[in-house]
Symmetry: C2
């Protein structure tokens, strides 16, 4: 110890803190618009990097992110370990058995979804390597194979997230897509590992020959996914029975990841390949507890991933190297190859037309994986910075398109979430009313704050209430009505310490009252909102906690953290 | 990027993986003997370091942990960030309000528990600085103050853990100890921050003068714990309401920690001071959800802490620098000062004699904090390596003594835990019996495998059963008896898919049957075991999962992970 001076440490803490804060804020902002968090993390890095901060305040930029001395090496080391952990988490999500369960459709989507873009990539690399950003002194053969792989890889974590957002994860379509992309990723990573073996330049030299590298890589993958997977599955109960929890299992998984990473790095492919395969092998065991998985997932996705993706913007000038033509070309080639390839595979596998297109757009998301791939190719001198920027744009573009395009071809409606209907002006901390009609009037009054005609609304809700009282039990009441001319659902919420009788089936007085207004002709919205409320309040603890809040912000915070604590 | 070669990365992954694996194994092994995990982590580091591996296989040692190049700097940077996160977690456990609630006793324990060892340290530093391991070119004034601080600091995380293990955490005694050590730690760290300001050597030079350092440090502490604490408390609901969970809060806490660390490092005290205070300020807010706290706690304590403490053994040769006389001297001085100081304070605060001694031994644990303190003093050239080793020995020695001495002075019995009574030979996966007397005979037969007389045992349990059936509901039955000549409680457990009627109050057939034998004269043991079983099976999910296990190891794993998942 003692290699780092006090100033080194100050800069290290400051730069890591600034990247983490900026990247997290970026991720939150883009998520508000339904975009993948990796987009926000990269944008944050671009803000902090040579593209923006480097131009606006070059001294600050050089102070925070020095190019010389030990600091950049320390940051790179930290990020590389973080990246290996991120790949562990990505691997944990891979469930090999889904491939077999989904059978024919998954297989044909997986194969066609690789073959077509891979062919496009080979053709483009042979016909026009320079136009596609081959680095001046790179080997054309390696470059062509890299381009083919880059176009055919997909990003399981982004795909899974998109399917969950659309409520499709547990449908047949969702399972085919997941199975196909598990297959796609496994093949893609093995091909990529081989390409990495070919990419060896002086700076990344390994003592082994290319053929040894390829043989060892394949052997590692096969042994880890068969004997290794079996051994891990057998070890987990022993570890859980005899070590502290969840520390024993987490330490085991992470140590294995680091050792796997060290092995593949030594072999001459990148560390991330070993980390990913260890993740697949560990995640496949049903003995791994959900809670352990979530602890690793949360810490790594919310801390290490933002640091890694945030740092990407630091190394490349995205302004200077932005080539609109190349970006368009790469994006178009990637989309056409993948979407058509998968859609054709899906049709051959027996899926309906709309589902086939949806599968294509789902599989098209490249997300984080493409960016990691591109970064390695850039570092090893296979592509130039223009092409790296184009790959980042393609990765983000395909991920952003995925959800909206699926929604379009499947004609899905946006899911209605209780929390999104509420706002501070329609929140009544303590209702003055003591009977249900007064309570409804009080809440309807708050709804006029958002521009509705009070009398119309009040009359509609009271009319509905008089037909049949709306206490649904668990101390919740949901007076509601359909209103002419409303564009989207709206709600007001009031709390009542002493409770108001809404004639609930369980006889309890309501302590939380929602007034819900839905558009006259939208049959689905009302049912969805009511179902969401019933689900939210199934556990009495939620309401107990809500009755203690001081403000609308606290109300929302309690509602949200409860929802997630129950694993939604 | 691109500062690290492929070989650097291989070595980095390998060394981090090896340290993590070894340190985790060490921690688990020492915990079996009721010792603090930090002991095992440090022993693991000594095994891997110059003390053992460096002697046995010097080439391996040099390959894994090179002294030159960027690798050691990267490892140090990683560990320093990990250390800051560890201090964040330590700070999160500090609850400022306990100090006020415990009032007089806590205050007098806190004050006397610092004053006496601090006085001892001053005296020792003035009288015999060389004998106490002052580095040759250190400033005697700084050294004396360091020694005084080192003797008076305590380790809240270790203390809290010991109290929990002894089931004393929520008692009056426990609360006084916690409050006193919160007070102790806050004062100790502020004094230490000032000492660090005095310690500035060339390599750790800051641009600021000593007085500026001290003023800024105090100002930082005061502002953070008043206005900062208030601002954080107000921000948390907003963050939880409007960002992803738990990523928003975790990102916020960690970014704040890193920025606080950067600030105090810049000021001229160490980064860990800022990290600790941010932890105190964040942890004090009741808005911080337990789940978020646990995610950070688990990942950091089980991953970053083993890496940091494991690395300590790498930097120092514990064999060459082990000075038995110095170790004994430091340990004795530390124990006498702290135990007497706290006990006197406790008596003055109105506590009974046995409790006063227990308080002294509880507060005596130095744990991880002392080691961090010593490492900084070593790095800054205030103490020599002999003294560093003595401080590590003292830290571990005081922590190891803490639990057993408290048990002794309070005459506590060891808590009885269900899991510790079971073993593979007394586990029957599927009972052949279909009625309760046969089931008891079957389980008693398995108990003879551990050397008991079958007839005596069987007769005693059947006799008890015939007086009153032992079905306790929730599909659990607990036939039991007291047996002459038994040294400690014993149990056998059997599962029954179809269930056996044990005449339970809820009418359900028992699917899990425990036969429990306790020593004839131990009244407490039987009640404790039965209570532990009732608590364990309060939730039906546990039993459902247990019915699916294949082996005793899986049985134990399921029992353990359920217990912890419910927050015990």
């Amino acid at each position: 110890m003692g290699q780092l001076t006090s100033e080194n440490l100050t800069v290290l803490f400051l730069s890591v803190g600034v990247i983490l804060a900026t990247a997290r804020i970026g991720a939150e902002l883009v998520q508000r618009f339904g975009q993948p968090s990796v987009l926000g993390e990269i944008l944050a890095g671009i803000l902090l990097g040579p593209t923006c901060l480097g131009v606006i305040a070059p001294e600050w930029f050089r102070f925070l992110f020095p190019r010389e001395g030990v600091t950049p090496a320390v940051l790179e080391g930290f990020n590389t370990i973080g990246l290996a952990m991120f790949l562990l988490v990505a691997g944990l999500e891979v469930d090999l058995s889904t491939i077999w369960r989904q059978g024919r459709a998954a297989m044909s989507v997986g194969v066609a979804g690789i073959a077509l873009p891979f062919g496009f990539g080979l053709a483009a690399g042979i016909v026009a390597p320079r136009q596609f950003g081959m680095a001046p002194d790179s080997d054309p053969f390696t470059f062509t194979f890299f381009l083919a792989t880059a176009l055919s890889i997909s990003a399981l974590p982004v795909i899974a997230k998109t399917l969950m957002d659309l409520n499709l994860y547990r449908t047949d379509l969702g399972m085919v897509v997941i199975a196909a992309s598990v297959f796609n990723d496994l093949i893609g990573w093995i091909v990529f590992a081989i390409v990495l073996g070919m990419m060896k330049t002086n700076s990344a030299a390994s003592a082994l020959s290319i053929s040894t590298t390829i043989v060892l890589t394949l052997a590692f993958a096969i042994v880890l996914l068969t004997a290794g997977r079996w051994a891990i599955h057998r070890s987990l109960p022993f570890i859980q029975a005899h070590t502290s929890w969840p520390g024993g299992v987490m330490g085991f998984a992470l140590a294995l990841t680091l050792l796997g990473a060290a092995f593949t790095q030594w072999v001459g492919v990148h560390a991330i390949f070993g980390a990913f395969l260890v993740g697949v092998a560990v995640g496949d065991s049903p003995h791994l507890r959900e809670r352990t998985r979530m602890t690793m997932h949360h810490f790594i996705s919310f801390i290490f991933a933002p640091l890694f993706f945030g740092s990407i913007g630091l190394s490349v000038d995205f302004g200077k190297n932005f080539d609109p033509l190349l970006c368009t070309l790469v994006l178009a080639l990637a989309c056409v190859g993948k979407v058509f390839g998968c859609a054709i595979g899906a049709r051959l596998g027996g899926m309906a037309r709309a589902e086939a297109w949806a599968t294509g757009f789902a599989m098209n998301a490249r997300g984080a994986m493409e960016i990691i791939l591109g970064l390695l190719a850039l570092q090893r001198g296979v592509i130039d910075e223009r092409m790296f920027v184009a790959l980042v744009v393609m990765a983000i573009g395909t991920s952003m398109l995925s959800g909206p395009m699926m929604r379009l071809v499947l004609r899905l409606e946006r899911p209605v979430r209780l929390a999104s209907l509420l706002n501070a002006r329609t929140f009544v901390r303590q209702l003055a009313a003591t009977d249900r009609m007064d309570a409804i009037r009080e809440l309807c009054a708050s709804l006029t704050a958002v521009g509705l005609d009070r009398d119309t609304v009040e009359q509609a809700v009271l009319e509905r209430e008089s037909v049949m009282p709306t206490g649904i039990g668990n101390r919740v009441a949901v007076p509601h009505a359909r209103v002419e001319g409303l564009a989207s659902p709206l709600a007001a919420v009031g709390l009542s310490e002493q409770g108001i009788d809404f004639d609930a089936p369980d006889g309890d007085r309501a302590q939380i009252i929602f007034v819900i207004l839905t558009p006259r002709h939208d049959d689905g919205a009302q049912v969805k909102v009511l179902a969401d409320i019933a689900r939210t309040f199934a556990h009495p603890k939620v309401l107990d906690d809500l009755l203690n809040v001081q403000s609308f912000t606290e109300f929302l915070a309690t509602l949200k953290t409860h929802r997630h604590a129950e694993g939604e």
